[in-house]
Symmetry: C2
């Protein structure tokens, strides 16, 4: 690897471990093909609270609780928690995790939050800033519809390119233990804006950001798609995934045989009527924490790139006719320490 050329990519010095992780979901997520990989399912979209927003905070509270318990950690064992979500001012996170009293750094990366949190949590342990860190994120179909589109009661029609925001959360604990899976490196993304203005076609807006970050990782490390079992994106959905594969194809690289997208995995397109697939911070967050990390722990998978993608728009700027800037951050996760 050419250190001089590595502006965006960081290789871990003592690859930290993901000591535990947990995924929480809602009813629709339980009914999908990945239902068995959630640690807990909540049938009630209110999570026994009186608003959807308070419900979303419960999602994160549960995810942190389960991730701590599965690793036999208490909140006092964690030095810093990195978290964020899609809600205005990231209230899903702040109201969800405040009772744990863990030192907290709020992050905003839209649906790229799980990879942003994981890369920060990993770098802090790798560089001995902390002993143990956590990352958490969530999304909720009902809060996202109300905030970004229309309240559910309005009964708006969804376009064919629209995605379904997952009601889900993922949380994980990073430590310096020598136990797989390990975080081997990461690439911090740049904002990419190709001029897409259709807020119902996020996949198209985000695919170029994923392409930019993943190809930067390959360029800077000299590694190749064949070095990985899977190249996992967050929530490009059907539309964005096919754009991503085309962008690589144009460069003479075929990633289609190893590319997976959490937005395409989480729901069954034939029976669940989600149009272009799943989306939301919780989609990539829960698939990473519930599905990929356990497979990397057991050794069924050896190396993946996890590149969640975020569309950095707001309803305000959309109404003002602005384009949709996007970003993708990447984390290299491995069964081997190197």
């Amino acid at each position: 690897m050419n250190e001089q050329k590595m502006r965006s990519t960081v290789i871990m010095q003592s690859p930290p471990a993901v000591a535990s992780s947990a995924a929480i979901g809602g009813k629709k997520e339980a009914e999908g093909p990945m239902g068995q990989y959630f640690d807990k399912i909540n049938d009630d979209p209110y999570f026994s609270e009186d608003t959807f927003e308070k419900g979303e905070s419960q999602l994160q509270k549960q995810a942190v609780e389960h991730a701590l318990r599965k690793g036999s950690f208490s909140p006092e064992d964690i030095d810093i928690l990195f978290g964020g979500d899609l809600l205005n001012q990231c209230t899903g996170t702040t109201y969800g995790i405040k009772s744990y009293e863990i030192p907290f750094l709020g992050i905003y990366g839209a649906c790229s939050t799980m990879s942003e949190g994981l890369l920060l949590a990993s770098l802090f342990v790798d560089r001995n800033i902390c002993k143990r860190t956590m990352a958490v994120t969530s999304s909720h179909f009902c809060t996202a519809e109300r905030q970004y589109r229309m309240p559910l009661n309005y009964g708006g029609q969804r376009t064919p390119t629209a995605q379904w925001t997952a009601t889900a959360s993922g949380a994980l604990v990073v430590t310096a233990e020598d136990k797989p899976p390990y975080i081997r490196g990461c690439t911090v993304g740049k904002i990419v804006d190709m001029g897409v203005t259709d807020a119902n076609n996020m996949g198209a807006a985000m695919a170029p950001a994923a392409f930019s970050t993943i190809s930067t990782f390959f360029e800077e490390t000299g590694m190749h798609p064949e070095d990985f079992d899977h190249i996992v994106t967050g929530d490009l959905g059907a539309v964005g995934s096919s754009i991503l594969c085309s962008l690589f194809e144009r460069e003479g690289t075929d990633i289609s045989d190893r590319h997976l997208d959490c937005g395409k995995m989480i729901y069954d397109p034939d029976t669940q009527d989600v149009h272009a697939g799943g989306s939301g911070c919780g989609c990539a967050g829960s698939m990473l924490c519930g599905y990929f990390l356990p497979l990397l722990r057991s050794g069924e998978l050896h190396n993946i790139l996890f590149a969640a993608t975020g569309a950095l728009l707001s309803p305000t700027v959309s109404q003002q006719g602005d384009t949709i800037p996007s970003i993708s951050h990447l984390v290299w996760i491995s069964h081997e320490r190197g």
Copy 2:
């Protein structure tokens, strides 16, 4: 310093330097007592754009441009930029900085953003993750009123405890150079929620968070208020500042002779009708970048604690009757490297 007991505080190993910084302001900020410390003043609240939100993005664009230019840096010299603001989905930052194409990590800490960004930027340089980093933040009176309270045209009355969101931005560059001022350490805050629900009294909501973080720093390092020229808070304003001093007094510590609050400094209470003082990410951001850092560079100041404070509420949760959780992150800045 007792390393065992340092959960929240990190002492830098090779204290990085703030190589340059810039503060941008609006008309009201120019008319205040700190007007001379801004690098650039914009009389037009639209910044020649067609919406206030796009204007706020110009604030950040200008701040980054000036901070780069003052240090003779180009965007390519910067490895990671940390930024965020108060707008939904942090669009002030994303639309403001996207043209620089700098690898970007979005953060959300409400008005604590400047200290969160500075601590992350410093740790990344200190632990050799990057060579050069930046932090940027902003706030804008007109965007904040529209989003958090009422559009300006509504002409709402302000309560005596209300604060005035500064139209301002601060940006800085952190490097490994041996040139003052240096970042010596930081304390990551916890979310503190004392049950305040009045969104027009943020100072009262945030003062306990500042108290928690500043006293944690003293406990964990064994240092004392007398070790610092100033203990600077972000935007507690008149109400929050007096609560903070009382909280310390209750513990037998008098900080009133060295406590300064950016929200109390930025406007003249007698002539500028700002009620309890200034607020917004750009208030602490511009006072740090325009006023304190140059004094720490020249040696007129030797040691300060900079503890910006953020109220982590959203209009949605306020309307749902929820309390206001707050957070404060602290950075120790010094003329000496140690």
